[in-house]
Amino acid sequence: MARKFLSGNEAFAEGVRLARPQVISAYPITPQTIVVECLSEMVEDGSLKAEFIHVESEHSALSCAMGASAVGARTFTATSSQGLLYMAECLVYASGGRFPIVMMNANRSTALPWNIYGDQRDSIALLDSGWIQSYAENAQEALDLALMSYYIAEHKNVSTPYMANLDGFVLTHTYEVVEIPTQEQADAFLPSFKTENKLDLSHPRNLGFTAGPDYNTQFKYKEHLGLLRVREVVEEAEMRFAEIFGRRYTGLTENYRTEDADFILVTLGSISGLVREVADELREKNVKAGLLRLRYLRPFPDEEIVRTLNGAKAAAVLEKDISFGGDGTVYTNVTAALQKAGSRLPVSNYIGGLGGKNISAEEIEQIFEELKQGNVKTVFLGLGGEDA
């Protein structure tokens, strides 16, 4: 086990190297570029034995990964923002075809106005594409998710592509000390990729065929079940991971000081670190604040959310996303989970960090302050000016 000072992109690339993908096809886009550069250097210097395929677009990058997966290869691609949206057509092909491709997405705003900085509207806009979606908080988790993503995606009960999201710049470009497992440890954790869902001369199959109205529902239902089974496979992966690497993750969500909390902020990604600090400070002022971090958005951790928020007086969802004309999509999902469980907890929606706008500790403290009042509201952080 080595310790290195790495950015989120570099940490994720190290994780991918340890997973030994056989085919990598990717097209560079800020702020994802570095993960692709790192992997191309690893292939060049021989430390990663993979085919690195240069493609002319993101649409081709994922098409290429699908072709590779369809002959049984472990594959990797990465993108961000407009690139992810350009890929959108292929995303549903990969999930419908049940090809367990792993993709890193550097969360970045979407045009217009043009902006290269981080928010989560790109991946959340594609929540319905049938991919597993995880959101890392820090570079260590990014590396660990790179390894675990293959275990989960390729598991025979899942066989579904995996989108590992890292906040653009805030996580992809900031440096931390990261523990890098040895190849022996990684190999002990991650079995080689085996699937029946492939083209095979000795066992010929039709892949990616048509299913009309008579059969379409059944295929889509099976796709849905594959995603629902991710919950138990995540648990299995994390148990194995803890045994080998000594780090224990907490499933689809992570709770911080929620057990006796009156006010819980639900959020995802790198902002969670700051929420944790604010919760600590508020605890010293006798405000029972807690954090519920959504590590995965698909499958949606509805049971975990209901369990954690049960007993709180009020909650808020803080997200770097807005479904224009509706609410934040995470908020919609959280409140739907609570409604299904019969909860009447007041939940507010805070939209922040759009286009890379900083979310300050003071703003988070203010959210907890407003939760005490118990009103349900939708607030855009960072509008500025008194007429906002």
């Binding site: 419908g96 075809g97 066989s159 066992h203 065929f209 099976k222």
Partner: protein, 96 residues
């Protein structure tokens, strides 16, 4: 080779493949429900030149006893075989 149909049509959820992948060589079902007119071969006039076999866009014409026959499970009734048949051995008849 004439394509062959699955003997058993999947009905229950458990019979539907887990992925969009299935053993090759099978066609799930007949696919000619919208045909209005069907080509009918006059075996007396057919000289076995195989022009219809070569031109059929759906590949549903197959060789049989030195002449040709049509797989009506997949023929769409486009009539190209009739147009291409120089001896006039193919007539289009209305589906009943």
């Amino acid at each position: 080779m004439k394509p062959f149909l699955r003997e058993k049509i999947p009905a229950k959820l458990s019979e539907i493949p887990e992925y969009t992948a299935y053993e090759a060589g099978y066609l799930v079902t007949g696919n000619a429900g919208w045909r209005n007119i069907r080509p009918v071969i006059n075996k007396e006039k057919c000289v076995g030149c195989l022009q219809c076999y070569l031109h059929c866009p759906d590949g549903v014409i197959f060789k049989k006893d030195g002449k040709v026959d049509i797989d009506y499970d997949f023929c769409k009734g486009c009539g190209i075989c009739k147009r291409i048949c120089k001896p006039g051995a193919i007539e289009m008849e209305a589906e009943k």
